[in-house]
Assembly symmetry: C2
Homo-oligomer: 478 residues x 2
């Protein structure tokens, strides 16, 4: 008798301790892609993962994707992308799994309750940077495949892995790679699955079929060659911070409306189907508000909130580089400051158009200040919104797997955040992409105290196992 999917589930359940220990090892690697000085750690994380895949019998190719040019003009080598194959049975269908091994910046002083790079188990939650975004899910795939092997059950489909180390910095270089390998590595792939997204709430599992895009801007203003003492120089210098705050204040009003002229022009009006999907999902505005800890939200009904998170652009001011940012009182006139903000985009906004609109508006605002300071605006990241065909068999497999493991029908949702690689697949291949969401809405990706629920980690591996089996059943035969 051959093993059943239930045997795979049992093996997963019996190895919880091992799987948590492995996640702790992964989280301990400070693979922050946006901090050049930590690039070595990203590389180490990629190498560790490649070795892990090889131990599972996978064939690994480490693809050199070149260098990135930093703000100061210097070049920095990008971490290689892992392209790997586990199983090459020509009689089977092939799924490509994408994930990323880099993480957002994190420091204990940002307000974490425990060291962000030490996985900490508290009340059924595994706290650590990257636990949910995206080390936990990537490791889940490897644990899932190992569990098939452990119970001697053949993989129902061939699995290809595409794992990168630059997702949190705009997936630089990945698009070109996918384009280049569109006919080779990705040529025999039937569909793509990505676990790098979140449920709308904490209980109901979700499949995600749409994402917003991201246009990230940096505004640099320089008033002097070095920081100045505000007592000695204050009153005689055109201060860079004065200019920058004027510009930042001109971007968005306190109701959240973006003030850049024309920015809403290309926004696709809400369709009836989209409105219906908003109405159908299981979402409590009050729970959402409490989870955030906000006094009042910008909107008050389920439909309005989801519409603003999924179908409308938003602008966030993230911070300022070069100004005083510590505790206490420093009487400095910062000489060079870089304001950072981004716009989340939706269909049919084009990054090129957004870039032009924002740059024109900001340049105009700056010129009205009549400031003699040096000024520059750049858009280091610009990605489109993405929407998938949610009627594809890939989604059927995902839905069946979710139902089997959780016992409920998953919600079909969109998400406000971006996963650049979805666009690369959309642009360079004809492959359907399923976002098999495993994180809960309160996981705190990009935030302090990021966590992955232990139950989601464990159930997620079962969903993945079940999804691989479902795929072999629902994908159309040639």
């Amino acid at each position: 008798m051959t093993s059943s999917i239930q045997d795979v589930f049992t093996h997963i359940e019996n190895n919880q301790q091992l799987f948590v220990k492995r996640l702790a090892e992964w989280v301990s690697v400070r693979s922050v892609s946006s901090q050049p000085e930590l690039r070595g750690e990203v590389l180490r994380m990629v190498q560790m993962t490649a070795q892990h895949i090889e131990r599972l019998g996978g064939a690994v190719e480490m693809v050199d994707i070149g260098t990135e040019t930093l703000a100061d003009g210097s070049k920095l080598a990008l971490p290689p992308v892992i392209l790997a194959e586990i199983g090459r049975d020509p009689a089977k269908k092939t799924v490509c799994v994408y994930g990323h091994l880099d993480v957002q910046p994190a420091q204990l002083e940002d307000g974490w309750d425990s060291d962000p790079f030490t996985l900490t188990h508290r009340n059924g939650k595994l706290y650590g940077r990257g636990a949910t975004d995206d080390k936990g899910p990537v490791l889940s795939w490897l644990n899932c495949i190992e569990s098939f092997q452990a119970v001697s059950k053949a993989l129902p489909v061939n699995v290809k892995l595409c794992l990168e180390g630059m997702e949190e910095s705009g997936s630089i270089g990945l698009g070109e790679l996918i384009a280049e390998r569109g006919k080779s590595f990705f040529g025999n792939v039937d569909c793509v699955c990505i676990s790098d997204s979140y449920w709308l709430g904490t209980q109901t599992p979700c499949l995600t079929f749409g994402l917003r895009g991201l246009c990230y801007f940096e505004i640099e203003v320089q008033c002097a060659q070095r920081d100045l003492h505000s007592g000695v120089y204050g009153g005689s210098v055109h201060e860079a911070m004065t200019d920058l705050t004027q510009i930042l204040a001109s971007l968005v009003d306190s109701s959240g409306r973006i003030l850049v002229p024309g920015i809403y022009k290309s926004v696709k009006p809400l369709s009836e189907m989209e409105a219906q999907l908003c109405a159908n999902v299981d979402f409590s505005p009050e729970e959402y508000r409490l989870e955030i800890g906000a006094t009042t939200l910008q909107q008050h009904t389920k439909e309005d909130i989801l519409n603003h998170r999924w179908h409308l652009p938003s602008l966030s001011i993230h911070g300022i580089e070069g100004a005083f940012s510590e505790l206490g009182q420093k009487t400095v006139i910062p000489s060079r400051v870089v304001g950072k903000f981004s716009i989340r985009t939706v269909p049919n906004m084009e990054p090129d158009e957004v870039e032009r609109q924002v740059k024109d508006y900001v340049a105009q605002t700056f010129s009205e200040l009549r400031s003699p300071n040096r000024f520059r605006i750049t858009m280091p990241v610009g990605s489109q919104a993405w929407v998938a065909d949610s009627t594809h068999p890939n989604y059927t497999a995902g839905r069946n797997a979710m139902r089997r493991v959780f016992g409920v029908e998953p919600n079909l949702i969109r998400d406000g955040c971006s996963i650049p690689v979805t666009l690369d697949f959309a642009r360079h291949t004809a492959l359907n992409v399923l976002l098999l969401s495993l994180g809960a809405c309160d996981d705190g990706a990009h935030s302090q105290n990021e966590k992955f629920n232990l139950s989601n980690y464990m159930n997620g591996m079962k969903v993945m196992a079940s999804y691989l089996e479902e795929l072999s059943l629902v994908l159309p035969k040639e």
Copy 2:
């Protein structure tokens, strides 16, 4: 034959190497008073100095001045103030020397060319945090006194020392101490001398008789209980950064005019004598502009520039705590941000009045945003402007000493920065205070690459020696 002041000068010249090595030891102590985690280093600096004074035969009292309350409500012990006496001859006059042992924050990454806490000698300049502000000058006094002793020359006047470790944080606790000891420690003092100020240029020595005050404000806005992912939450949250940038942008226009209603009301009109002093000083607007590295200044004539630095208030926005401040792109909605700005005040602005004007205006601006976010404004530092009687014999002694060492008449100037203790002396004693400036205008106090010219360090000790002798001659006999 007894030793002459020339013998003291010769001893100073012969000991340059030793005196530089000592300054390196002092600079290596990270005595940053505004960073609570470095309070131990401030304490160590105070203790090292006390031992140094005792080695010179001084009688030292370490005065406990209590605790400060931090922003989070916790209490932190203040470093003790050193009150010391070197010489107690009742036949001699007594000068009190004030200085501070704490420094501004500094990190190599801020843009220093060498580690800020390693004194580095390059091209006749001694680079390091505190080199000029104020460790170099304080150590100069001790080196000067040692030089008198080394050549067996009696001190011309008794020297009392009042050295604190909280100057860069508003000299908390010092005012109360001066008030308390007004009749005891300070009772027999004839005048006060402080070397914690800068020349107007790099060549002409200066005596400083006026300073601006400082009102430092912190605006706290909180929109959520933790930082949020801008993709997931952007569009549904009233973002704290949106509110804060609106408020900061409402404070000052790009011509430097403060927009807080009434703020200029109490500003004393420029007197003819003040205008004349501006006209008399040796100051080149173009050299000043080049030293800053600015494209254009707010004003263009000597008189206008000095008027704005000395006689008019200015507002500087220093930075934001809690927002993203590093290199790279982080897509965060910061949950709690604290904007920091300060106003330099002039006669006759009162800190209480400034506090009320700013708080009223900012509260009004915030209420017009109709934001549901938590909002708070505080003024952790509020000090008055200060002007001394520059016709006092104390100034005559300073002028004679400067002329003797540098061979030129010093400029009589004011300065835009604050030294809170000047006010404490003004408020609690009737003592004349002389600011015996030894730093050059390009020393970069509070900035990257702070330095003390080796020549100013060496000549400064001679000026101090000469000043002590001049004092014994010009102070009126009883």
